[in-house]
């Protein structure tokens, strides 16, 4: 399956299709991407367009040269999308599979509710990164804002820099690894031991994000749910 996909990618690498948003409408660009079964595409002049490259379902390679607006790569399935710029709210929201790579910074709710695949942010990410996360993996090379991983259910978030207030508030089963300082932990989120399985997982995500051995997994702290709020209990009233 993976091999077939790589094959399809390779076969189309020769055809580098340019989509220039200076002359194409958003609908035209998205329709071309949504209908393509494979291939490489370069999108020029995004100029902050919203919902660009959203709803892709095939293993395309899409490179966007410039900044994008809200929901770039939203609900992505299988495509590899690289943004050579900053991304607005909700980049790769609800991604199912594939990969989205933001070379700049990302705004709020990056990777919100994502179910699968990998989101890489080279810069910083704003508030609510990975909110209601459902299985997507996220690697942020910079720092992240407040309320990251709020109610996050599954998936892994790796942060090389610092985290803002209320990290992991009301978190369910998602895993968080932060290398820098955490300003404060949210309700029911606690620091946890790093066992071998966690080091392996973290290493594999760092590798996937192209981060070399110069970053040591031993520098990270793991955070996750204390699981105290899983069933309502009157003694926890102050925490709800």
């Amino acid at each position: 399956m993976a091999a077939a996909r790589e094959g399809a990618r390779a076969a189309h690498d020769a055809r580098n299709t340019d989509l220039d948003l200076a002359s194409l409408s958003l609908r035209q660009a998205n329709e071309t991407l949504q209908k393509a079964e494979a291939g490489s595409f370069v999108v020029a002049n995004p100029r902050g367009a919203h919902a660009l490259a959203a709803g892709l379902t095939n293993p395309l390679d899409v490179t966007i040269n410039g900044h994008v607006g809200y929901y770039c790569g939203g609900m992505n399935q299988k495509a590899h999308i690289t943004i050579n710029g900053n991304a607005g709210t909700g980049v790769a929201e609800n991604m199912m599979s594939g990969r989205v790579h933001v070379k700049g910074d990302a705004s709020q709710s990056a990777g919100a509710t994502g179910c699968g695949g990998l989101l890489i942010i080279d810069g910083n990410a704003s508030a609510r990164l990975g909110i209601s996360l459902r299985g997507l993996d996220i690697v942020v090379k910079g720092s992240i804002g407040h309320m990251a991983a709020f109610m996050a259910q599954a998936g892994t978030i790796v942060v090389l820099g610092d985290a803002g207030d209320a990290l992991g508030d009301s978190i369910y089963e998602a895993r968080l690894f932060v290398r820098g300082k955490v300003k404060s932990l949210g309700t029911d989120c606690i620091a946890k031991d790093m066992r071998e399985e966690h080091r392996t997982l973290l290493r594999s995500l760092l590798d996937a994000a192209g981060i070399g051995p110069e970053i040591d997994v031993a520098e990270f702290t793991r955070y996750g749910s204390a699981r105290k709020l899983y069933n309502f209990h009157i003694d926890n009233l102050g925490s709800y």
């Binding site: 958003l26 609908r27 998205n30 329709e31 949504q34 919203h50 919902a51 959203a54 709803g55 379902t57 607006g69 809200y70 929901y71 939203g74 609900m75 399935q77 709210t89 909700g90 929201e93 609800n94 199912m96 709020q108 709710s109 919100a112 509710t113 179910c115 609510r128 909110i131 209601s132 459902r134 299985g135 709020f150 109610m151 259910q153 599954a154 009301s170 369910y172 089963e173 899983y230 069933n231 309502f232 009157i234």
Partner: protein, 445 residues
Amino acid sequence: MTGDERWIHTPPRESATFDRATIAEIHRAAATGIYDIRGFGAKRKLPHFDDLLFLGASISRYPLEGYREKCGTNVVLGTRFAKKPIEIKIPITIAGMSFGSLSAPAKEALGRGASAVGTSTTTGDGGMTEEERAASSLLVYQYLPSRYGMEPDQIRRADAIEIVIGQGAKPGGGGMLLGQKISERVAAMRTLPAGIDQRSACRHPDWTGPDDLEIKILELREITGWEKPIYVKVGAARPYYDTALAVKSGADVIVLDGMQGGTAATQDVFIEHCGLPTLAAIRPAVKALTELDMHRKVQLIVSGGIRSGADVAKALALGADAVSIGTAALIALGDNHPRWEEEYRKLGTTAGCYDDWHEGRDPAGITTQDPELTKRLDPVAAGKRLANYLSVLTLECQTIARANGKSHVHNLEPEDLVALTVEAAAMAGVPLAGTNWIPGRGPQD
């Protein structure tokens, strides 16, 4: 014995302020330390459609012949932007109710009943089940704050998309599904461990406010090729402004749910004390649509306490394009049926009062995930009951429309109505019966 002894003590007198229900609630709160959670909608008496009457025909207005002259009931939804609007044959749809709160056979029965009479049904929190997709010829897919179970492939398989901002039973509240109802299947669909209490968020995770909503709608349209109608559902709170903002954000259809609207599980205090009654919400929404020249272009679906064809007709006369039903549909499937009386007694209630839908012990097999109880609901038979009920609502609505001389139920209008109470007259903007007085309106309005 002089007969006067009995007057030494005054006879028992219930307080209007501290009535029995209030006293029982204080005892319950003192014993448990937690607010009361329950299903169903508001139980208090509210100004409602019962406070309105149709005038019928007279010398100046002539009626249509009962069985011979046509009275249309079809409604087209999504004509504003969607490439594929949907057409329902009757002005009544089935509201979004989640798999999780309802059993799989109950969801299937809703689909069967709705499809049999040519109308749509709606998913709910937790995503789409195969049973309901297969059983529903027209299925509206809810896009909720929790996004539990939400997948793009499911959106693509739906006939319309409903962005849920709120519900009438709890405008501003998220959902809750208590651990008892989280079976393995429900848990897996929602990516959460089985048996834990699930809180659904009350705000969407990736947008806030009308400007963001416009972009969210754009994204959903881009993902579905601008084909599907996009509904926006709000609880009745500020219907005039919410309607205007939904129009501004690019909605095709607005779903307005009054405070009587049902819920699977919410705090009683929320159900009874927040939101506007359905009756009070419709005219402000229609006013906003009319001012924007969007009445009938952006369709309005009203819900919250719809029980009869008269309610349907009254909602349409006040300006709705269609109504949707939740509680009444569950009752039609068999909820609160006297045949389960013995079991209701064991649960400390009685047929007609059962509202502990959150506990998952429903004898009728509707609001439960218990495999044994679930088996009691035959989706084919229950679907047939729902279809019967929907047909009755439609016939009743047509009966009233014809008597008022209307060849389509959409021709019903406020002028056909009067109110029985001053409150209802003010809320519905129709005159108090026998007068030309509409409280709150001057001659210029």
